[in-house]
């Protein structure tokens, strides 16, 4: 199981075991949900939006190590960001998990998700929580689903 440590880096295993901000957020004024109909993964994201800034964000749900860890990392990385900043971070993350290329030097702990690109079937796991969060923040009422043609 050599390559698996590319995918399941210690950061991932850690966030999977102890997901951060894994709770309902009482101050949330936006709620988003995402599901992966192919595997049954389900996620709910709570966003407290002040103006265009994500003051706070949390999540709950069931999913694999990748989706849980990625959602957990999402909450840590998006807290305090404006929607525009959040979208930029997601754009980099998306490129990283689809191509393996780390675009920004400064991806910090998100770089742990770079190994996902070697496992194409798992890319959707890594993006599920982000979709849900961005949809909620942008006020898109549609639940995120990994079935959209674009991830």
């Amino acid at each position: 199981m050599q390559d698996l440590t590319d995918l399941y880096q210690s950061v991932i295993l850690d966030h999977n075991r102890r997901p951060r901000n894994y709770s309902v957020l009482p101050s949330a004024n936006r709620v988003g949900s995402g599901n992966n109909p192919m595997c049954g993964d389900q996620i709910t994201v709570y966003v407290q939006l002040d103006g265009d800034r994500i003051s706070n964000v949390s999540f709950q749900g069931s999913g694999c190590a990748i989706s849980k860890a990625s959602a957990s990392l999402m909450t840590v990385n998006l807290k305090g960001k404006t929607i525009a900043e959040a979208e930029a971070i997601y754009a980099n993350l998306h490129q990283m998990v689809t191509t393996g290329k780390v675009v920004e030097d400064d991806m910090s702990d998100l770089a742990a998700l770079a190994g996902v690109h070697q496992f194409p079937a798992r890319i959707k796991c890594a993006t599920l929580g982000w979709h849900a969060a961005l949809n909620a923040a942008k006020g898109d009422a549609q639940p995120a689903t990994t079935e959209k043609p674009s991830d």
Partner: protein, 410 residues
């Protein structure tokens, strides 16, 4: 000359055989085309290396199968110049595609008093689904006539009269499988749009024979069969304009077309998955994409020219060398489908006799019963050409028909 055209007959192993002691001359391409070895190989490779169920799997074989299946969707979108792969729904063929539109779009959007406009030259597969839809909804059918005589061209002078604002659907064939007529698809779609009708193109006879550009034609739906364009049997596709596909309810229910299922209700996946219930025809979809590569290597413009050249030659020779023959369809600007009536010899007898000479023709109503009646015929004999046919084969056709005529006169 494009090198892909050299030695092209060698790509089709089936052509290299004797039938009744004669080298096979396969002129039944409007019914189904033969398959190049690369398409057969695509099936073999898939089953020998990559076979697995798609979408739901994350092991290696399943990822390979899923990747190849979705790559075929991209290939198909490119083949038709669709805006995006999501506009391609894989189906079992043209008939299935048209039924999908009639059910999923039709049942939701049609009501009593609405009109479904067809043309008098439609194949049963582009007629019966609309008859069934009319029965379900109370909508009515109407037909754009074919001009009197044997050219079989649409009577466009009547278009304005039949394409009224009550028309909600205008479904027509791009190329007639009986007459070889090529209809002005873009103009018909534009006319439909003007009255607010959706356009549905039956491209069974055109997709493998000429360039198809759904954006240039500006159609709403377009139906294709794989088996008539060098692909396997049992697979085809439906192009649908994205916004229409998204607004449509599903067609069949089952696995893969859902986003959430509960015991008493379900939610659907977005298009195109919404329309692909159950395990799809994975191997044949992948092989169909290979057929598209094959056709584009030859060039569809070149194929169209080849078809037209053979058809014009055959038309001219039969008309002049077979006394009394009745030729149907136009003499020029046509596809490679030639229908004719040999007076005093029924089409069945023509086909049986031609088969004894190794020449494969088709005789019958060609799923065009009402048109046959209009032409005062119960059946015709049909020779239909494709990329591997040759002028020498037309020679064989002419000689065979002469022999048949002699036999029956004798």
């Amino acid at each position: 000359m494009n090198p892909a055209w050299q030695n092209l007959r060698a790509d089709f192993p089936i052509l290299n055989q004797q039938v009744n002691g004669q080298a096979l001359v396969y002129l039944d391409n409007a019914a189904t085309s033969q398959k190049p070895q690369c398409v057969i190989d695509a099936l073999v490779n898939y089953y020998q290396r990559d076979n697995a169920n798609v979408h739901r799997g994350i092991h290696t074989l399943s990822m390979r199968a899923t990747f190849a299946y979705e790559a075929a969707r991209e290939r198909s979108a490119k083949f038709l110049n669709a805006t995006e792969p999501g506009e391609i729904v894989f189906t079992a063929g043209t008939t299935d595609s048209i039924n999908l539109v009639a059910n999923a779009w039709g049942d939701k959007n049609l009501k009593a008093g609405d009109i479904i406009l067809l043309t008098e030259m439609e194949h049963h597969s582009n007629m019966v689904p609309w008859q069934l839809l009319a029965q379900r909804t109370g909508a009515k059918l109407r037909y754009l006539p074919v001009v009197a005589g044997d050219t079989g061209l649409l009577d466009l002078t009547q278009l304005a009269q039949v394409l009224t604002p009550e028309v909600k659907i205008f479904a027509f064939t791009h190329v007639s499988n009986t007459l070889g007529v090529i209809n002005p698809a873009a103009a018909l779609c534009a006319a439909a749009k003007k009255v607010g009708a959706i356009s549905v193109i039956d491209a069974a006879q055109s997709a493998g024979h000429m360039p198809i550009d759904v954006r240039a034609m500006d159609c709403d739906f377009l139906a294709v069969s794989g088996h008539k364009m060098c692909g396997p049997t049992g697979v085809g596709l439906l192009y649908g304009r994205k916004a229409l596909l998204e607004a449509m309810p599903p067609y069949r229910g089952g696995g893969s077309m859902i986003s959430n299922v509960e015991y008493f209700e379900s939610k659907w996946a977005p298009a195109p998955q919404k329309f692909e219930a159950g395990t799809p025809n994975i191997a044949d979809v992948i092989a169909l994409a290979r057929a598209m590569d094959y056709l584009d290597d030859l060039g569809r413009e070149a194929i169209a020219q080849h078809d037209e050249k053979l058809a014009a030659l055959a038309y001219a020779r039969l008309a002049s060398e077979i006394p009394g023959i009745r030729m149907l369809g136009p003499a020029h600007h046509r596809s490679g489908v030639i229908s004719f009536d040999l007076p005093g010899v029924h089409a069945h007898d023509v086909v049986t006799m031609a088969d004894q000479e190794g020449v494969a023709l088709r005789g019958g109503h060609h799923c065009n019963q009402p048109l046959m009646r209009k032409l005062g015929l119960s059946s015709t004999s049909r020779a239909s050409f494709y990329l591997y046919n040759t002028e020498a084969e037309i020679e064989r056709l002419v000689a065979t028909l002469q022999k048949i005529q002699k036999f029956f006169a004798g």
